[in-house]
Symmetry: C2
Subunit: 286 residues, 2 copies
């Protein structure tokens, strides 16, 4: 039913063992799918694993398999299991991780309303943009090439503008704070939320929308680079093809063999000019 | 995409309008499906609506429809919408309801660790029992008649015993407290969690497992009766057939026309002897 994706046992046998069931890719059920909540919790669990608080096992599950349905009776990933306890609700999963973090003084759940406000509606607005733009592009001749942003009607451009504004406001916050992660030198739940979403925006922007995070947002790009250098993010990140496949499936777009037969790849590099600018102003050495 | 299930507009136009998208039944997408989180939030929203804090609209959605997938890009019900904000995460939905309740001093989220401990693993254990018993019954000649609890092998009976013990401990708590709801005279989030789960246990027990909540647990049955007299529960409750269909689907059991063609019915009555006992000791007059 579940393919063991990763085994991470850190010696000590008194540590709690947390099993996380994440949604498999629609291309290959042994690969990680593009479920954002799954990646978010995986990153949090990774943080606990890294400092030796817990043992963590992650398994990909095919939600359409009879075995999965029977075992979980209608629950959807992410699902966390600890001994005989099954956590099928995001509130409960987070509650358990929160208590473990608290018990071991891991500053994973520090609160910051300013950060919360900046990031909360970004992905929601991105989804509106994806829907509007792909709908618009369906009328086009060459479906493989997304239409130019500049040529969009005002009703769709409004979504684009909102995304860019929000990305700029996160860039500004990062520039003001001059920190590696959103709250400081170490990763918190806000990063576990934002990093996967930014990566989806980047991959889907590039492959489906003809959109990129503006190259002028150097601090934001540097934050993306931080994600690409954070083990918790890298380990839990689906391949580009699996991310694209997920959106195409939901949008009822034609899936071509380029994605389903390709060897999975992960874009974890930055555009060259952006990387040069980051190096020039020395952000990468912070 | 969504069928408007219910419109509940309480006059005042400054009240926030909260739209809740709940999973439709697999039998008929205009009917409510057996999604426990959906019912839980629906009950909480109903509580806010009842006292005039918010306007609430509930819509059933067919999660397999292209329109749904496109609108929500992979998110699953329950989904709550307020103005242009989409809440697709149980943590966010609860967070919003929590803040509204707090703003208007609605005691919906009072904490009670003793109650939390008693109810937390009940449904999880029930799922283990459902799976083990239906697996066992698959080997039987007459698949329509569930095997007798007494005849079960020890490995399955252990699940049964655990459920009965937990139900008895909730009965004891209700007997000690002598309250209408778990915490007092008014409904809290704990009731929104427990009532739908108890009802599923009852319906699935009766129709699939040959199991009933022990009739000796008078205080627990009286609590079930309270659910059947609580508007928030009644309104949000799926029909028996839709509950049964959900479990059969997950368990990969044969669905017969009895369920799919029957007019939907809701069992909101108690066994006669239990009701007599409740009346005899005067619980129903509290």
């Amino acid at each position: 039913m579940a393919d063991a994706y990763q085994l991470q046992n850190g010696g000590g046998d008194k540590k709690p063992l947390l099993e996380l069931y994440v949604k498999a890719s629609g291309i290959d059920s042994r690969r990680i799918g593009a479920c954002l909540f799954c990646q978010e919790f995986w990153m949090e669990l990774y943080a606990l694993y890294e400092i030796g608080v817990a043992r963590v096992e992650v398994k990909t599950v095919n939600v359409n398999s009879e075995a999965f349905k029977k075992n979980f009776l209608g629950a959807q990933p992410p699902i966390m299991i600890e001994e005989d306890k099954q956590y099928t609700d995001n509130r409960d999963i987070e509650g358990r991780i929160f208590h473990l973090a608290k018990e071991y003084n891991v500053p994973l759940f520090e609160k910051d309303p300013a950060v919360e406000k900046r990031i909360e509606s970004l992905y929601r607005n991105f989804k509106l943009f994806v829907r509007a733009k792909t709908d618009f592009d369906k009328g086009k001749k060459d479906l493989q090439v997304p239409s130019d942003i500049e040529s969009l009607p005002a009703a769709i451009k409004i979504h684009y503008n909102r995304i860019v504004e929000q990305l700029a406001s996160i860039d500004q916050l990062l520039s003001d704070r001059q920190t590696r992660y959103l709250l400081g030198p170490s990763m918190t739940e806000y990063d576990c939320e934002l990093m996967p979403r930014l990566h989806h925006i980047r991959i889907i922007g590039q492959r489906l929308l003809g959109f990129d995070i503006p190259h002028s947002l150097t601090h934001l790009w540097n934050y993306v680079l931080t994600a690409y250098r954070t083990a918790a993010f890298i380990e839990s990140c689906p391949a580009d093809q699996d991310i694209l496949h997920h959106y195409k499936e939901q949008l009822n777009l034609f899936t071509n063999q380029r994605e389903t037969l390709q060897s999975p790849t992960k874009t974890h590099t930055l555009p060259e000019t952006v990387l040069d600018e980051i190096k020039r102003i020395g952000l990468d050495r912070k």
